[in-house]
Amino acid sequence: MSLDEILRWLIRWLTSTPINTVVMGYRWVWPISEILHFCGLAVMVGTVGAFDLRLLGLAKGVAPATLHRSLRYGVAAFVLSALTGSLFIFGQPDQYFYNAAFKLKVIALLLLGLNVLLFYTLEARHVLALGPSDDAPLRAKIIAAASLTLLVSIMLFGRMLTFFRP
């Protein structure tokens, strides 16, 4: 079975589900999902971005551990965005699976996940012990810069979805 055949099967299956009927059958499901998707994005980028900026030294004066405590809300917001994002895929799978911007967005999301894993494996212990004026280690700064770049990329590719429709 080729990749194209798998995608076509997946599209057929997704469009035959009751979720597809709800997303496409009710006029306000898509706009409300978009609102929740963007609210989730704002909370996720805000909480994670503020933490990254602190590690990069742009928001010195606040202990990293203080901003780190808000990250759980960023994770909850990510889950909200992922759930609402899934609704869009259930609604119009062909608009996403054959869309270059969507593929790049998924790659950026996976890399962001990998970056989070790297942070908690290598740097979290040192960073969370820092005081308000302490400088983060270079490795933590590189991870924070990668995180910010990936967050901006996710927003960029997300906005470009409309303009790369198949």
Partner: protein
């Protein structure tokens, strides 16, 4: 009178450029900048609101100048990109009540940010031991609700407009 102004605006070279520039560096990129500005202003403001709502007091001196700079840069990006988007489709926005609701919410959001700064971080910082007042927490709740409202009305603009161009006005 208003229709005439809108038609004139739509025909300016800047409006035509934003609307019709045949590259993702035109309208799509301006839309992206608007989202980036939202994330910088509302996103960072939300992160601070959550922090203030959860905390009781500051264990150590806190300086907010860095995060404030990020928020104001986001506001600058949002204003510039928002004006460009408005210039591209002035009739679409200016004939939609949701647009005015969004502008009002942005104004309240900015006011909430400045109130929080004034109450809790005078001269950009809060000394160790500063207690986060109930008033600050109330403004943090207002700020959270207002940024959610701004995001909601911003998205609804795409679904609630009656016309795209001034020539479609009755």
């Amino acid at each position: 009178m208003l229709t005439g102004v809108l038609v004139w605006l739509e025909e300016t070279p800047a409006s035509v450029w934003v609307r019709e520039y045949p590259s993702i560096l035109g309208f799509p990129f301006i839309l992206f900048l608007h989202t980036l500005g939202l994330a910088m202003l509302a996103g960072v403001s939300i992160a601070i609101d959550i922090w203030l709502l959860r905390a009781v007091t500051f264990a150590r001196t806190v300086r907010m100048t860095g995060l404030n700079r990020v928020m104001w840069l986001g506001f600058g990006i949002n204003t510039a990109s928002g004006l460009a988007l408005l210039l591209a489709y002035p009739a679409k926005a200016l004939t939609n009540p949701v647009f005015y609701a969004k502008m009002a919410l942005v104004a309240v959001g900015l006011y909430a940010v400045s109130r929080i700064n004034r109450e809790t971080f005078p001269r950009g910082e809060a000394a160790a031991g500063t207690v986060i007042s109930a008033l600050t927490k109330r403004w943090a709740v207002v700020s959270l609700l207002v940024w959610a409202g701004t995001t909601a009305t911003g998205r609804l603009l795409a679904y609630t407009h009656h016309v795209l161009f001034a020539t479609q006005l009755p």
